[in-house]
């Protein structure tokens, strides 16, 4: 049924969208803290943030499954607060995605904040700008490209997630059944036609998103040069 694939697409977009928003909210201060941190514990925190890059998703999924179960504290607290079970819920796959995609958001932001340095922030403080003002008037406009990269990577990586969701989400249509899981189901059922449709859509979608990121990150100068070159060529042509 195509409808179930559409349902999976909607679930996927909802999950990835919500995950990206949460990641930007918690990833920005975390990246800022790491960029400014000089303590030797910095490497420990950096390693923890980067862990999902190398850890098999099933390992993370397995531990989250245990933590989210009603027998353990995080799952119990969730159940007390919301009255619902955490494991095999939409909330569970969002939390799992946040952890799993964290490095894709934190690392580009951290790098951008480190490159920005303190000099402009010192200058703006001396002009009377407080910390929040400095963030929105200086940091954000000057690192906008990195925010777009971070958000896109976080979003794309969450869309492509499989192992963690398989472990903690189950396969509940409209709740935790996302595209990658639907694709796996089609292959298992030898429905290659539908598997192809999903695969090619995911492939093209990811490709377009990455191309957009790289385009946004092109150095502005080279773009300007191109425009100037083009203008000068036209100029010569007119001579």
């Amino acid at each position: 049924m195509i409808n179930s694939d559409l349902q999976a697409l909607i679930t996927t977009l909802q999950m990835a969208g919500l995950t990206t928003i949460i990641l930007l909210i918690i990833g920005t201060p975390l990246a800022w803290y790491l960029a400014k941190m000089t303590s030797r514990f910095k490497v420990v925190i950096e390693a923890i943030v980067a862990l999902p890059l190398v850890l098999p998703p099933t390992v993370l999924g397995f531990y989250l499954l245990i933590a989210f179960s009603p027998e353990h504290l995080p799952g119990q607290l969730w159940q007390q607060a919301t009255g619902q079970q955490l494991a095999f819920s939409f909330s569970a796959i969002v939390i799992g995605s946040v952890l799993y995609s964290l490095p894709f958001v934190v690392q580009p932001l951290q790098k951008a904040f480190e490159q920005l340095g303190d000099s402009l922030l010192e200058a703006s403080a001396l002009l009377g700008a407080g910390p929040i003002d400095r963030f929105f008037s200086i940091v954000f406009p000057l690192t906008k490209a990195s925010f777009i990269t971070a958000a896109s990577l976080g979003f794309a990586h969450t869309v492509g997630e499989f192992g963690v969701i398989l472990m903690i989400g189950g396969n509940i249509p409209g709740e935790t059944r996302v595209l990658s899981i639907a694709l796996f189901d089609h292959v298992e059922a030898f429905d290659y036609a539908r598997a192809h449709v999903l695969s090619i859509s995911l492939l093209i979608g990811s490709m377009l998103l990455l191309a957009a990121i790289y385009w946004l990150n092109l150095p502005k100068r080279s773009l300007k040069n191109k425009v100037m070159k083009k203008n000068s060529i036209e100029h010569h042509a007119n001579d």
Binding site: S119, L120, E122, A123, A125, L126, L127, A129, G130, P141
Partner: protein, 373 residues
Amino acid sequence: MTKLPISKTHQAAAQLDIDVSISFQQFDLTIKQAIPLKGITGIFGHSASGKSTLLRAIAGLEKALSGHIKLGDKYLAHSKENLCLKPEERHVGLVFQNSRLFSHLTVLGNLEYATKRCQNRQLNLNEVIELTELSELLVHQVSELSGGQQQRVALARAILAEPKLLLLDEPLSALDRQSKTGLLKMMLNIQQKLKLPMLYVSHSLDELQQVCDNLLVMSKGEVVSFGNIHKVIHKLNSIDDSEIIHQQTSLSLPIKGFNNGHDLTTLSLNAEQDIYLICDQAFQHQTQLRCFILASDISISLTEPSDSSIVNHLLGTIRQMNHQKHNVLLTVNCGSQDFYVTISAFSQKRLSLSPRQQVYLQFKAGAVRTFIH
């Protein structure tokens, strides 16, 4: 909202009281000095003498200090009372060596960044733009500007925040000579119009000599000397090290005649004695002139030279003779002014010069130097 006249916007507070120590790996900075908040005070010293660190401490960018900094009647930092105001709460401006302009904003955007966050808002944006000659550049991106233009934007931006004290950390060091002179003039003009006290850090005594009223000399994190700029420079003359100072006579004299008909300007040294220097259009509207004469540019004669092309010869009395590594430094008193002269030990012996002896000082009009043209 009515704008107050520009000259009344900055009422200078009494003094900047500094009593701080800051520990670094290479050296400790220990400064105890009260600086009158009047005119431009120069801070002179070699690299790693701690002068930039001192400015950063006053601005609130250097937090790990013990002691106190008091601007007028307000403490900016007081370690005993655990008080350390944030940079944005200090009303202290700082112009950095590299202008630190905001590259995502235009020139006007950079200026408005300051005005939007200023609580007083008594300065008129257009007046400051005029003072810093930026009206042609307002719509430009800051990356399109030359170094000198960028520093003018940085200066205007700092002024528009309406600080009670403006700090300048080697603002001219990356500029060519022409931009330097232009910016120095601008600083002087702004200081006089806005009555904004400034602390100006530089390793160029020539620059400081032209604009500063007082001079603070630092070495290895400590204050070596503080006071009237001419007196402090003359005190530095006793250091026989051309790396630190070109021994000189530093003067601030009234202009007696702009042009004597032969393109020479006359300065009045005292009731009887004048000094001639080469006339410059810029002197026309000035009543007072800052100039200096290098000790190596003055020669000594025992009789009054009457058949020499050298225009300046002053009768004086040798007050002091110091034998240095390669020559002899004479302090010669003319009226109430001391002149500093270096001659070879050979000449000193040949003329058998001694203290209290009367001599003639000779120097060309071209040896009387000014930085601002």
